[in-house]
């Protein structure tokens, strides 16, 4: 195992972790407002398909990313209508959104399977210009990767250093109290969900437009669910979510490393490593995480009239 191969694995870990981190950040915002969205898998799929289709039609990846974000926000509004306005069960509504996303993304993407698109340019990581070429090629990242950590810090600032974030967290802890303090829980929840959907759309855009540059059905392969799991792992904190995404990226990297080194293990079992690792981490964190969950996560707000 050469240094070069290790770097290659690291590089692909960063690429595969980025879409997950955006999605996880979105879900942190949503859950801080008290809403669990199991429909993320479907939201991501529809965003990925829409973003890819727009990029393919217009030839402009930036428009595709924008379309993907808007789609994510709108999909979450659909989910939000069910759980906020109709006061439906969040888990079942999330799964309904997931089904909807499976179908709608297949419909949107069906004429773009195998299409070729222009992607974002990749720029060498600053300060590494002096390295030999085979090394620098491992550090060519795109705009969305460079932006992901600043976005995480931005989400942290939004949640913990602004009045809006304070109101949002209050709604997640106790919607009635927040209402008594003069906030409108329903509007805050819609705002949180829209923002969460846009971030999920950004993650999906990175997956389909930038990283894989293809569209295929079910391409997110459970990333939406892993994002929900990582929110628990990160104890509903945006900065710890970075560690969670690195962990997942590391799992993917480990899987690629094993495959590359020719270890005699079935590739199918290696494929399950990210899911198994997520499960193990959830178990290990299980006992300690209870105090950090927003108190009214998953509860329906019936209004305070």
């Amino acid at each position: 195992m050469s240094l070069l191969a290790l770097l290659g694995v690291l590089s692909s870990a960063i690429f595969s972790g980025t879409s997950l981190l955006y999605t996880t950040l979105g879900e942190v915002i949503g859950e801080r407002a008290g809403i669990v969205n199991l429909g993320l898998e479907g939201v991501m799929l529809v965003s990925a398909a829409t973003g890819f289709a727009v990029t393919s039609v217009t030839g402009n990846p930036y428009l595709g990313i924008l379309a993907s974000m808007l789609t994510g926000g709108l999909m979450n509004m659909l989910f939000g209508y069910l759980v906020i306005a109709r006061k439906a069960n969040q888990l079942a509504s999330g799964l309904a959104t997931m089904f909807f996303g499976f179908g709608l993304s297949a419909l949107i993407g069906s004429s773009y399977v195998g299409a070729k698109i222009d992607s974002l340019p990749r720029v060498l990581f600053p300060g590494l210009g002096g390295l030999p070429k085979q090394y620098t090629s491992q550090f060519q990242f795109d705009l969305l990767i460079y932006l992901v950590v600043p976005v995480a810090i931005g989400v942290w600032f939004l949640l913990f250093r602004t009045r809006w974030g304070l109101g949002l967290r209050a709604v997640g802890e106790s919607a009635d109290t927040a209402y008594a303090a003069g906030r409108n829980p329903n509007i805050i929840r819609y705002q949180a969900l829209f923002l969460a959907g846009m971030l999920a759309g950004l993650g999906a855009a990175h997956l389909s437009i930038v990283y894989t540059k293809t569209w295929k059905e079910f391409m997110t392969a459970g990333r939406g669910f892993i994002a929900v799991a990582l929110v628990i792992f990160s104890k509903w904190h945006p900065l710890r979510a970075i560690a969670g995404a690195l962990l997942f990226g590391g799992a993917v990297a480990f899987q690629l490393l094993l495959q590359a080194s020719g270890v005699n293990v079935s590739p199918f079992l290696l494929d399950s490593i990210p899911y198994v690792l997520t499960l193990v981490v959830l178990m290990a964190w299980g006992g300690t995480r209870k105090h950090s969950a927003p108190a009214s996560l998953g509860r329906v707000y019936h209004g305070s009239e």
Binding site: L38, Q90, F225, I232, G286
Partner: protein
């Protein structure tokens, strides 16, 4: 852990007038079909033609109708696999994974003892399928009962693990040598096949499924277990203070549910395929979840909804053939149906009065 206590816990044999219940279902599906048609129209397809094709080719011909019943068999199992844990307030979204592991255990049994007669081999395969599903369901419910992880997210994630294990065996040790390029196990012995009826593909799994449905109805309605399970699902603390061992019920309900999902896998590979293939299930487990929510856990509702949903999914094959739509598009129709139910829960609540 409070997320899950909102599950509805009514078990009833259609209380309320049957006509009204039927009318409600007609309204739900009517709205769903119209919205589905609108989406198809927006996508530039011919909605009326598509929906007509779906109805004509499934209900209009004997062959189509028998295929609907074939598709309904696994859905009967998987919807009970979701309904039973739902009675104690558990959300089992892992029927898909449990189905795969059940099928894998059953296939292992069939491949290990090809020379046994059918009257020994088939019960062994049933037992293996039950065991496989139960084992796969035990992991998440054990973690839940210990208060470690919510079972919804674990069952969802385990759905992605189960097919990789099946693929490992089918591409690896169990792969048939020399024959077709498609990876699959060797064909099962004739003794390992569930018999089928009337020259169709309808097989004995239908009878097994109906028996399990009847048992589910009887246990829930007339036994102490059913009452205590509803108590656990209704108010966990009250149940605990009344001396009901609720963790036992959580684990039992989930494992029995998982076992039934495993049986769905066994009946599919033994009754239909006759061998184990990777990715043989087109989401039967997820569809079972949907059916349980549509029918509210009601046994007759499960039977009716399984039939209707089976009709819709067989319609998916028609859409794929005649309109060139991807099969997954069917999920839109299923999702809209669930949206309508979720957005209008009063359609069901009112029958309590």
């Amino acid at each position: 852990m409070t997320i899950l206590t909102q599950t509805r816990n009514k078990i009833s044999l259609l209380n309320g007038k049957p006509v009204r219940v039927l009318l409600r279902y007609l309204v739900i599906f009517g709205v769903a079909f119209v919205l589905f048609g609108v989406i198809l129209w927006l996508a530039g397809k011919h909605p009326i033609e598509a929906i007509r094709d779906m109805l004509v080719y499934t209900l209009g011909t004997p062959a189509g109708l028998s295929e609907v019943i074939v598709k309904m068999i696994p859905l009967l199992f998987t919807s009970i696999a979701v309904a039973l844990p739902a009675r104690v307030g558990l959300i089992n979204v892992g029927a898909e994974g449990q189905l795969y592991i059940g099928a894998m255990f059953a296939a292992g049994t069939a491949l290990a003892f090809p020379q046994l007669p059918a009257w020994i081999l088939l019960p062994m395969m049933v037992a293996a399928g039950l065991a496989g599903g139960a084992i796969w369901a035990f992991i998440p419910v054990f973690l839940r009962a210990r208060g470690l992880v919510n079972e919804t997210i674990t069952t969802l994630l385990m759905n992605y693990v189960a097919p990789t294990i099946v693929s490992f065996f089918v591409y690896g040790p169990w792969r048939a040598r020399g024959t077709a390029s498609a990876p699959q196990t060797v064909d099962f012995a004739e003794a390992a096949r569930l018999p089928s009826f009337f020259d169709t593909r309808i097989h004995l799994g239908l009878v097994i499924g109906l028996v399990i449905l009847a048992a589910y109805w009887y246990v829930m309605k007339y036994t102490r277990w059913g009452l205590e399970m509803r108590a656990v699902g209704g108010n966990q603390q009250a149940a605990r203070r009344n001396g009901i061992r609720w963790t036992t019920y959580l684990i039992l309900a989930m494992c029995v549910g998982g076992a039934i999902a495993g049986l769905a896998g066994m009946s599919e590979i033994s009754g239909i395929h006759g061998r184990l293939r990777p990715n043989f299930s087109p989401g039967f487990g997820f569809t079972g979840f949907l059916i349980n929510w549509l029918s509210n856990g009601d046994p007759i509702g499960i039977l009716l909804m399984s039939f209707v949903i089976a009709m819709i999914t067989s319609g998916g094959d028609i859409l794929q053939l005649k309109q060139g739509l991807p099969f997954a598009v069917l999920n839109i129709l299923l999702a809209i149906t669930l949206f309508v139910v979720l957005a209008k829960p009063t359609l069901f609540e009112r029958k309590k009065a």
